[in-house]
């Protein structure tokens, strides 16, 4: 069986500066795969390239059998690749409900959209309570919930989450991670970028460690969690 997402020798540059220097990895349907690493390792650049916001320098990206380099960002969403961006980027002046509706922008099945909005409220009850409120008034953690719920609204084959725990309180971070476990148990395929390596690795099937544009180490989540060098570099142990 071929993988849902296959990235081969991907290079991405901002002008002359190469941010991603030839990485390869794959995501199988049903898996949670995580990219961990410090700031500037190229994780966000990788996700933005996969979703079509950045154009790669070279390499190939195959998603669900299709070469993504031939598609625009809005067409890639239509193929079933959803991206919840770093910094959440909810639409602050729209209501929570309108934000969720925008997540279903390309869908025509009105009744099913309503069901999916309800499902998002079931997953995150706080969003349901505030559905008519402007999204900009939500707390950081609630905005993260909204960003995740919104990304799920296109019924993606692959959900990409960029730094979902960034800037959140430990309790809220815990909650977001529990949600990812919940989505995983429902069979959602997830590509997770995180600086919180401990949390990401403990729930991931596969992990890749990125350093200055390269993947330096790969393995199962558990392997990496117990790897000596990973523990030293990313889990803050001596």
């Amino acid at each position: 069986m071929t993988a849902l997402l296959e990235v081969e020798d991907l290079k991405v540059a901002y002008g002359k500066i190469e941010a991603v220097k030839g990485i390869s990895f794959s995501v199988e349907a049903g898996q949670v795969v995580t990219l961990i690493g410090t700031n500037g390792a190229g994780k966000t650049t990788t996700l933005r390239t996969l979703s079509g916001l950045l154009k790669p320098l070279s390499g190939s990206i195959t998603f669900d059998g299709k070469p993504l380099r031939k598609y625009r960002a809005d067409q890639i969403v239509a193929l079933g690749l959803a991206h919840s961006p770093e910094g959440r980027h909810i639409f602050p002046r729209m209501t929570i409900e309108d934000n969720l509706r925008l997540g279903a922008y390309l869908r025509d099945d009105k009744e099913d959209i309503l069901k999916d909005i309800q499902a998002a409220y079931d997953l995150f009850p706080i969003l349901g309570e505030r559905r008519k409120q402007a999204a900009g008034t939500l707390s950081g953690g609630e905005q993260q919930m909204l960003a995740m719920g919104r990304a799920m609204m296109c019924r993606p084959k692959l959900l990409m989450l960029d730094e979902p725990s960034m800037g959140l309180s430990p309790i809220m971070m815990q909650k977001i991670m529990e949600t990812i476990v919940e989505l995983k148990s429902r069979g959602t395929t997830i590509l997770l970028v995180e600086q919180n390596a401990q949390a990401a690795l403990s729930l991931a099937d596969q992990g890749h460690v990125m350093e200055v544009g390269n993947i330096v180490l790969s393995g199962t989540g558990q392997d990496l969690l117990h790897d000596e060098s990973v523990r030293k570099a990313y889990l803050g142990e001596d």
Partner: protein, 308 residues
């Protein structure tokens, strides 16, 4: 003599025209943060488009011809507006702000001169067809039948735009693009198409305003977009640039202020030198300066800090 109703009516007519043109400035700015200084000329092109239909069918009754004039005016303006976006502004997206701004000013001159050179007799103002009929009296004001067009068209256009922006999928995509273009793409919005759409809607409104202008003024000319464009831009800033209702409100406030200043400034003690039509443009810009001092974001504008 009580001339207040008449001044208010004049102000409203002028303001409706400013407001319709201002929508084009504000929509384009809201989505690509570009001041399309060629928009006044897109308005002017609409005027000549409408005139062309009259010249083709000089004997047709005006009432029957008006729909065709509107359609052709809109086609001409939209074609020029969309072409400007595609070939002049899109290649400069991501360039420093100054580059598209200067392009817009250049484009504005090109369009003026093109009409001046190639449209028959356009070196002089051209008479615009007029309806026959006595002015209507309404609450003490006399309104020319030719001025009714803009008073009817402006509210219809604004209601249609409000519906489009809030109730249709493309309208929601437009709001999303205005708030956060990259994230809009991640929702599946084809932002390039939304941007062309914003230019096209703005151009269509300008064309309708141009038909109203031709009827109201009785003539069109290749320079008509210059001062009308500048005033409409002022109206857009006054109302809060980026806000479509603000554009119409700004237009009406500006129109009323001009009319009232023209009519009454001379009666204000010590200001007798500054009344009359010659000073109306000055008072329009004084109003702009005052509003921007007190409320920099404009009447209905939101603070920039709200942009995430």
């Amino acid at each position: 003599m009580n001339e207040l109703p008449q001044q208010l009516a004049n102000g409203l007519i002028l303001g409706a025209m400013y407001g319709l043109i201002a929508v084009g400035y504000t929509m384009v700015y809201g989505i690509v943060q570009l001041i399309n200084f060629a928009h006044g000329e897109i308005f002017m092109i609409g005027g000549f488009g409408a005139l062309t239909i009259h010249l083709w069918f000089p004997d047709a009754p005006l009432l029957a011809l008006i729909p065709l004039m509107i359609v052709f005016a809109v086609i001409c303006s939209v074609a020029v507006g969309a072409a400007a976006e595609r070939f002049a502004y899109r290649p400069l997206r991501g360039a420093p702000r100054l580059a598209p701004l200067i392009t817009a000013i250049g484009l504005s001159l090109v369009l003026q001169q093109a009409i001046w050179k190639w449209y028959p007799d356009a070196t002089k103002d051209q008479p615009f067809p007029q309806f026959e009929g006595d002015p209507l009296s309404f609450l003490g004001a006399d309104i020319k039948v030719n001025s009714l067009f803009i008073l009817i068209a402006a509210p219809i256009c604004m209601i249609a735009l409000g519906y489009f922006v809030n109730k249709t999928r493309a309208g929601r995509g437009m709001q999303a693009t205005a708030q956060d273009p990259d994230t809009a793409k991640l929702m599946g919005v084809n932002t390039d198409r939304i941007i062309v759409m914003a230019f096209a809607i703005g151009a269509a409104f300008a064309a309708i305003a141009a038909v109203g202008y031709g009827l109201h003024q009785g003539q069109v000319g290749y320079l008509m977009g210059l001062i009308m464009g500048l005033k409409a831009f002022t109206a857009a800033v006054l109302g809060g640039i980026g806000n479509i209702y603000g554009a119409m409100l700004g237009g009406i406030v500006l129109g009323l202020a001009e009319a009232l200043a023209t009519g009454y400034m001379a009666d204000v003690p010590g200001m007798d030198l500054f009344g009359g039509g010659a000073w109306k443009d000055v008072w329009a810009f004084v109003l702009l300066i005052v509003v921007l001092l007190v409320r920099p974001q404009g009447l209905l504008g939101e603070r920039v800090a709200d942009r995430a």
